[in-house]
């Protein structure tokens, strides 16, 4: 396949659009530039540890449940020409909860079965060079090529596919065509 799924410039433009919507919604996405001309999107969310509640509920202390800090980073992979999602789940003291506990917090589609390591593992954040969990990018390009180019924001389209796995809140506003 000759066409590249998502070029760096497209990633930049899509990120800009996402940041615009985020600013309107005030839901916390930010952008950081790197020294060598790259950059990445990032966001932090607080969630209760055991699962199904929405982020709004976390302020209510419930026995047996702890609050976890989820950090999401969306980086661009030049090798795969597509976005890659890095994330870390820490307790309130800032300590990583471990890969096994992290996997326990995720919501995999049923067909993943127990083969989690093919989907998520720990890796070095290529920019911060610190340990992060990440979703393997192998199939991301298929996902993006499947989407119709030009009509939609490919970054947001991709993010809406992976967000449920990592319990990332994504408002329906992101799906609306951008009029600005």
């Amino acid at each position: 396949m000759e066409s590249s799924p998502l070029s760096w410039d497209e990633f930049l433009a899509s990120s800009k659009e996402l940041l615009c919507i985020s600013q309107r919604l005030n839901d916390g996405w930010n952008w950081s530039d790197t020294q060598d001309g790259w950059g990445y999107l990032h966001k932090t969310e607080l969630k209760s540890s055991s699962g199904n509640e929405s982020a709004d509920d976390v302020t209510a202390e419930q026995p047996g449940k702890t609050i976890l800090v989820w950090e999401y980073h969306i980086l661009y992979s030049p090798a795969y020409s597509c976005p890659v999602l890095y994330f870390n789940v820490r307790d309130q003291d800032g300590k990583f909860i471990g890969l096994d506990s992290t996997i326990g917090q995720l919501r995999f589609p049923a067909k993943t079965g127990r083969n989690y390591l093919s989907v998520v593992s720990q890796s070095e954040h290529p920019i911060l060079r610190k340990p992060f969990c990440y979703l393997h990018p192998c199939h991301t390009s298929d996902l993006i090529i499947a989407a119709e180019k030009g009509r939609t924001n490919l970054l947001i389209g991709w993010l809406s596919c992976v967000a449920p796995i990592v319990r990332l809140e994504l408002s329906l506003e992101y799906a609306k065509p951008n009029e600005t």
Binding site: M1, S77, Y80, F96, L117, S123, R129, K130, P131, C138
Partner: protein, 267 residues
Amino acid sequence: MATDREVLREIWEGKLPICFRLDPDEVNDLQEPEPLYLMVPRLSYFPLVVDKVRKHFLKLISEEKQDNEMWLEHNGIALKWHYPIGVLFDMYKEDVQLPWAVTVHFEKFPENELLHCKTREVVESHFMACLKEADALKHKNQVVSNMQRKDHNQLWLGLQNDKFDQFWAVNRRLMEQGSEEGFKYIPFRLYHKDDSLIQKLVKPMRDNGERKTLEDLLSEIFPGDEKASELQIVTHGIEPPKDTPLQWMSEHLSYPDNFLHLLVTKS
């Protein structure tokens, strides 16, 4: 294709003498434990060569720490197992005398520095992920994904068991050039002094078909920096001449993960 077989062989056989010592604060014994000396392949990863080290020190640490994950340190720096041993050594070698003194720990795992590695499968999955990424750069991921599971195994076992012929019987296919001359992009990681890791898409050829060299790579990474060509680049403990063609370097000086690991040692 990687044709200079004696170069490949020489690189493969690079070894480092290492002296492992248990952190004195973790010793649960009246006597100071004997250090353990090992000769390890530069191209391997620490978790693949330290079974003996673990066994040697386990009897000297307290009962409740026996199942802890072991980790290694050099001069206060936690050693990242997911880099090949030779890369780690070249990173820190300015202040190292041989044998390389490495401190062994079973306590206080540095969560914010190191990836966990409880089994060899973790190393395998990291290694395969690197291979795939390199193949995506070289051939748009067409070679690795067309290989069979047994080929993947052969690469991994070749590396794990230090078997040159076994490894290269499959790796040569990853080093083949596609329909065009040269790879699409050169898979490399450049480690800078300030601890940053530089990634960039660099082609092995100029538009006019001329081969690019290591010097061209540096000027593409540091555009406009006149001192770029004076940077000292080390890999496998040697300083390749700046006029070495990139395509040749990629085929012959890549680590088994199919990446060139280049260290800026002097600027």
